[in-house]
Symmetry: C2
Subunit: 140 residues, 2 copies
DNA sequence: CAGCATCCCTTGAGATACTG
DNA sequence: CAGTATCTCAAGGGATGCTG
């Protein structure tokens, strides 16, 4: 049976596109920096090396598990370096690599735009939600 | 009992921090542009207005549900405008608003960094994974 | 054409308890 | 101090069928 349904063809199109999309550098980067705690970790490390405990205190919103996971993934991507000083107790320090530092200006651009325009977004949302409520009430 | 355990205090600290973090403009923006299909939609609309069907074909990787959801959220945030031309059949066109256009350069900065450095990230990952495999084999 | 509604499964993320 | 391991639950995202 070489015949395929439209649904099958669509699924195949999506599958192949997904593969290409997974290769797309922009999406891959956004997957990473879009993770919940990445922006905060990068922002903190942009100001200098930090010990694990310092990060945990500064980014108090992240659970220990998420913080570790975030740090590991960033380390794996070569954006930060983890240095263990074998002492008692152990001392673990995280610092941005040159690659990680080169990302800082980009993050700053995102941050600046966000701070300058978040109000406009909020206004747009309120307007949209108000109209949305209106529409709903008219239908019912 | 006014006594609270360490766990309770930590939970409270996280809760209050979560509230602040949800207010953080950068995180809110990253939540939006980090969504799976947002970057592709913005990139496409940066080149001009598009009809729903055009977007669906260009961004073939997204399911219909996700594409609609993405467009609605961007519309709600005032980043794009949806124009319905009542005809038979209906014609719906999406275009960036001025606010949406002001975000384009930021997205381009992200894209450029991603394209220039994705290779370094890949190398870092391979190195990291290789060492990881080594560590695992030594333990067992 | 341009969606909406529903079902279902995978993934993200928090809580909790334990360790070198 | 700086983690690891496990459980659980909610959200994200896809497949499918239907509609103005």
């Amino acid at each position: 049976m070489t015949t395929r349904t439209a649904a099958q063809r669509h699924a195949e199109a999506r599958a192949s596109h997904r593969a290409r999309s997974a290769d797309c550098p922009t999406n891959r980067l956004l997957d990473r920096i879009g993770e919940k705690w990445v922006a905060l970790v990068l922002k903190e490390l942009a100001e200098g090396p930090r010990r694990y405990g310092e990060l945990a205190r500064t980014i108090a919103g992240a659970s220990q598990k998420m913080l570790t996971q975030t740090l590991r993934r960033l380390e794996r991507d070569g954006l930060l370096a983890r240095t263990v000083t074998p002492a008692v107790p152990v001392r673990v320090e995280y610092a941005l690599t040159p690659l990680g530092q080169s990302l800082v200006p980009v993050m700053r651009a995102v941050t600046r735009w966000a701070e300058e325009n978040i109000d406009r977004i909020d206004v747009a949302r309120e307007t949209y939600d108000a109209h949305d409520a209106e529409r709903r009430s008219q239908r019912s």
